[in-house]
């Protein structure tokens, strides 16, 4: 019998109005990578927050044993001292500080109460080498990509004495190559005997990485199994509670040749004078799903935020919506013209976390719930309920603050908010990031419904299977411009990757 590094027994956690965890049992063997899977809102993050002392002893019921010893963490600090490190769904780095400063924040190398910077930098370099990151420790963290920041977070956890490393959706925002570095790193750590708890909605990664998998559903433990007894399908079935036949409900259908969005020779220059979008031309048909692929930093989000009026700086070129020329200076112009943009960073750009679900949902479409310039609460709640039910949102009620929802349910609120506005063109930037398989499927079905109604969909996604699975046509971007265009038939992972990395110029724009 192996020994358990961690046992959580009979854990119950009650939030006002929600029982997030109900008598959960969770045991992790020493030195294994243990995946924790479950739908959005199943209680994964909550369980980990209990383990790491975010919710201190006394605010939950149940028992936690580390290496057979009962522990009662009253704060995050106490759990850290006991060797538990957690890396959150959201990053927790100080963007204005350097990599080295962040790595050793709160445990700097001191000599007589003065920080020994030479030592800090040389130690930081060692850690970076060890995790295989080629970054100068003096770089400002804010200048790194999200993926690199994520790796820095892990390095930061490792600089402290860590026996149990918890990763809450670490790869949600990573590029393929960063994911590879991360996987390799975790394998190294396993070899060194670090126990790792891994939360992810990407089951491919789970299958490749984990030794065992525990499934939560509706706040209860469903099962714990060794990986050899599982398959992706089995995990999905356990998570959702029923079988899911197909992952991408793509519907082949004739696509009209009417343009709903047409962009010609579009360039954008940011405030510092750097060209971020370089002479881009493309079109989107009514009822078409246009996938946008590319590596991180290819300018995909920038292009569409800029089209949406959300970037400062100069821009040139023509943008036609429904064959009408537009002059979009600010988001409000874009919304009026029929655009909607669902941001990839929902917490920062999508939601007002302290506001409730209903108010967030109607924020862009307030005029739809007003009578005589006065907000009609009954109408507001009605509209919000309809749309959120269509999205299968799980929440105690519409007056719940969105900050209290699980990540996936927050994403659904953002989608509701924009769909409520009846856009002509819906731009989805990583629409299923951090969303469970079941909910993904629902979102794809909603996309299908929308294209049936003639809405044009732009789907920016770093997940190639999703791009290939749902798009009618794929544009590949690189270096702020379009490097390739593929029809659904032509598109394969390899072709997309060649365009994305090779930077081959697209041959013809005219016939698109």
């Amino acid at each position: 019998m192996d020994t358990f590094a961690l046992e959580m027994k009979g854990i119950t956690k009650q939030f006002p109005g929600v029982k997030a965890l109900d008598n959960v049992t969770f045991s992790v063997r020493k030195g294994e990578i243990h995946a924790l899977c479950g739908e959005n809102g199943a209680g994964k993050s909550t369980l980990m927050k209990i383990l790491s002392g975010v919710y201190p002893h006394g605010t939950y019921d149940g028992q936690i044993l580390i290496n057979g010893q009962e522990v009662r963490f009253k704060s995050i600090k106490e759990s850290q001292d006991a060797g538990v490190a957690i890396i959150y769904q959201e990053l927790a780095l100080v963007e204005e500080m350097s990599v080295a400063e962040n790595l050793f924040l709160s445990h700097e190398y001191m000599r007589a109460k003065i920080i020994n910077w030479n030592k800090v930098y040389s130690e930081a370099q060692k850690w970076l080498d060890q995790i295989g990151l080629d970054i100068d420790p003096q770089t400002k963290v804010g200048d790194l990509t999200v993926g690199k920041q994520q790796l820095i977070e892990i390095a930061k956890a490792l600089t402290k004495k860590t026996d149990i490393l918890i990763l809450d959706e670490p790869t949600a925002a990573l590029t393929e190559s960063d994911v590879e570095i991360l996987m390799k790193l975790l394998n190294d750590l396993r070899a060194k005997g670090v126990t790792c708890i891994y939360i992810s909605h990407k089951l491919g990664e789970v299958m490749a990485l984990a030794d065992s998998v525990t499934i939560l559903r509706d706040g209860q433990t469903i099962s714990t199994d060794p990986i050899r007894e599982l398959s992706e399908d089995k995990i999905v079935t356990k998570m959702v509670g029923r079988e899911l036949k197909e992952l991408f409900p793509y519907e082949a259908r004739p696509i009209s040749n009417e343009n709903i969005l047409e962009v010609k020779n579009y360039s954008a220059i940011d405030e510092s004078g750097k060209t971020i979008i370089d002479n881009v031309s493309f079109s989107l048909k009514k009822g078409e799903i246009l996938g946008i692929a590319g590596l991180m930093g290819a300018g995909r989000s920038e292009l569409f935020i800029s089209l949406f009026g959300g970037l400062k700086g100069k821009k040139s070129g023509t943008v036609l919506i429904d064959d009408k020329a537009t002059d979009i200076k600010r988001p409000v112009d874009a919304i009026k013209a029929g655009l909607a943009y669902v941001s990839e960073d929902r917490k920062r750009y999508g939601l007002v976390l302290g506001m409730d679900i209903a108010k967030n949902t109607t924020l862009t479409a307030l005029n739809k719930v007003m009578k005589l310039k006065v907000i009609d609460q009954a109408l507001e709640v009605k509209r919000a309920t309809e749309i959120n039910n269509r999205m299968k949102l799980k929440a105690p009620n519409l007056e719940t603050k969105v900050g209290q929802l699980s990540g996936g349910n927050q994403q659904k609120v953002v989608l509701s908010k924009w769909i409520l506005n009846d856009p002509k063109v819906l731009i989805l930037d990583e629409p299923t990031r951090g969303i469970d398989v079941g909910a993904k499927y629902e979102i794809y079905k909603i996309i299908n419904e929308l294209v049936q109604q003639g809405v044009g969909i732009v789907m920016i996604s770093s997940e190639l299977p999703e791009v290939l699975g749902m798009s009618d046509r794929v544009l590949v971007m690189g270096g702020g411009t379009i490097t390739g265009e593929l029809s659904r038939k032509e598109a394969t992972q390899e072709k997309i990757m060649t365009f994305a990395t090779g930077g081959k110029k697209r041959e013809s724009v005219a016939n698109s």
Binding site: R330, V332, S343, M355, I375, N389, P396, N397, L398, K417
Partner: protein, 387 residues
């Protein structure tokens, strides 16, 4: 976990939640009652006499009007340190126009409000369109407005005002109409609650138990009647209080029921998300400051009227009382959260402490210390009640 609620499954959830939501309101009311008891005891009942209650409410009105505007400012994520000086300036201009230039009362009042709004516009422009932090802009305003006041009044006290101007701050709504008004507001309170409950039920929203809802408004009604009775035993309901109540009503409506109000909360809650949602941050921020300026004008008129004079130091430090009132009332300085009713109770608490301690002949320095401590204490309670 279920999908969005039907009425049944949300019913289970009720108790815990509504208690939590109202915790803030309860602490405030408990604090008020405690203050009343303590001062009542130490002044041999004098603090709770009709005359004093009438005084207390009139005294608080100047700060209360400011606190209404300050709630919007703070909810939007800003701060306004200039309101004290602006009260002095607008009140001073009204006095100068009337005493030196013979303007009639209506015109002088309008002038004060318009000038307040214009200076609000000026500050709002710097904050919204030039991105200078409100702290700096209004710190500048604090000096500038005081400077203008001293310049215009040549450092003199301007007095006396016309009788009609004096009445704004010193007249009373007499006996019978006072009761009628009280009864009307109580009836409205009940009708509105019943209506609201029915609406919430039909929408499947959380519903506090009927006992709780009606218990609460019964307590309010009792309070309204008691206050009316007390005030009527003296001279009636002071006009400044009516002004405060009407303004509060208007702004509560604006903050809950109009797009502008909703946007202010969204901007304070998450400016970037609000901007991408198509909300015009600059324009709405500008209007928040214009509103604050106009309300400072109203305050200025009230103050000048009550004192029957405008002095160069009028309104000094009022910004701090107004900010404290908001914060005690549960408005978060981070923005995005706050209620006007809370700010009014906060203003009443601050005024009670001033008033009670002067009645006890406690030296002024103690008043400062106690008010400072209460501010810190109130915020601490707010923070720890959320854990």
């Amino acid at each position: 976990m279920n999908q969005l609620p039907t009425v049944e499954n949300s019913a289970k959830v009720n108790r815990g939640l509504s208690f939590k939501v109202d915790l803030q309101a309860y602490t405030l009311i408990i604090a008020l009652v405690l203050i009343a008891i303590i001062f009542g005891f130490f002044t041999g009942g004098e603090f709770l006499s009709s005359r004093n209650i009438s005084n207390l409410f009139t005294q608080m009105s100047v700060i209360a009007v400011l606190a209404i505007g300050m709630t919007l400012i703070i909810v939007a994520g800003h701060i306004d340190l200039s309101v004290g000086s602006l009260v002095g300036l607008t009140g001073g201009v009204a006095a100068i126009l009337q005493v030196w230039y013979d303007w009639n009362t209506l015109m002088a009042v309008l002038a004060a409000v318009v000038i307040g709004a214009v200076f609000g516009l000026w500050q709002g422009w710097w904050v919204a369109y030039r991105a200078v932090p409100a702290f700096i802009v209004t710190l500048g305003g604090m000096l500038i407005f005081r400077g203008i006041l001293i310049g215009l009044s040549k450092g003199q006290t301007v007095a006396p005002m016309n009788a009609s101007f004096k009445e704004i701050g010193n007249s009373y709504f007499p006996y019978i109409p006072g009761y009628i008004l009280a009864v009307i507001s109580i009836v409205l309170l009940f009708v509105w609650t019943a209506h609201n409950r029915k609406k919430r039920q039909s929408m499947g929203l959380l519903l506090p138990t009927a006992k709780m809802d009606y218990g609460k408004i019964s307590a309010y009604s009792f309070f309204i009647l008691l206050i009316t009775y007390m005030l009527n035993r003296y001279l009636g309901i002071p006009l400044p209080i009516l002004i405060v109540v009407v303004l509060a009503g208007i702004f509560i409506f604006i903050s809950n029921k109009t797009a502008f109000g909703r946007y202010v909360y969204a901007i304070g809650g998450n400016q970037e998300a609000a901007a991408l949602s198509g909300i015009n941050i600059k324009k709405n921020t500008l209007w928040v400051f214009i509103t604050m300026g106009a309300l400072a004008g109203v305050s200025g008129v009230l103050l000048t009227s009550r004192l029957n004079a405008a002095t160069v130091s009028a309104g000094n430090m009022y910004e701090l009382d107004a900010i404290a009132a908001c914060v005690i009332g549960g408005t978060s300085l981070i923005g995005g959260k706050g209620k006007i009713v809370g700010a009014l109770i906060g203003a009443l608490i601050m005024a009670s402490i001033d008033n009670g301690m002067s009645m006890m002949n406690i030296e002024t320095f103690w008043q400062y210390i106690v008010k400072g401590l209460i501010l810190i204490f109130a915020v601490w309670i707010d923070i720890s009640s959320k854990k």
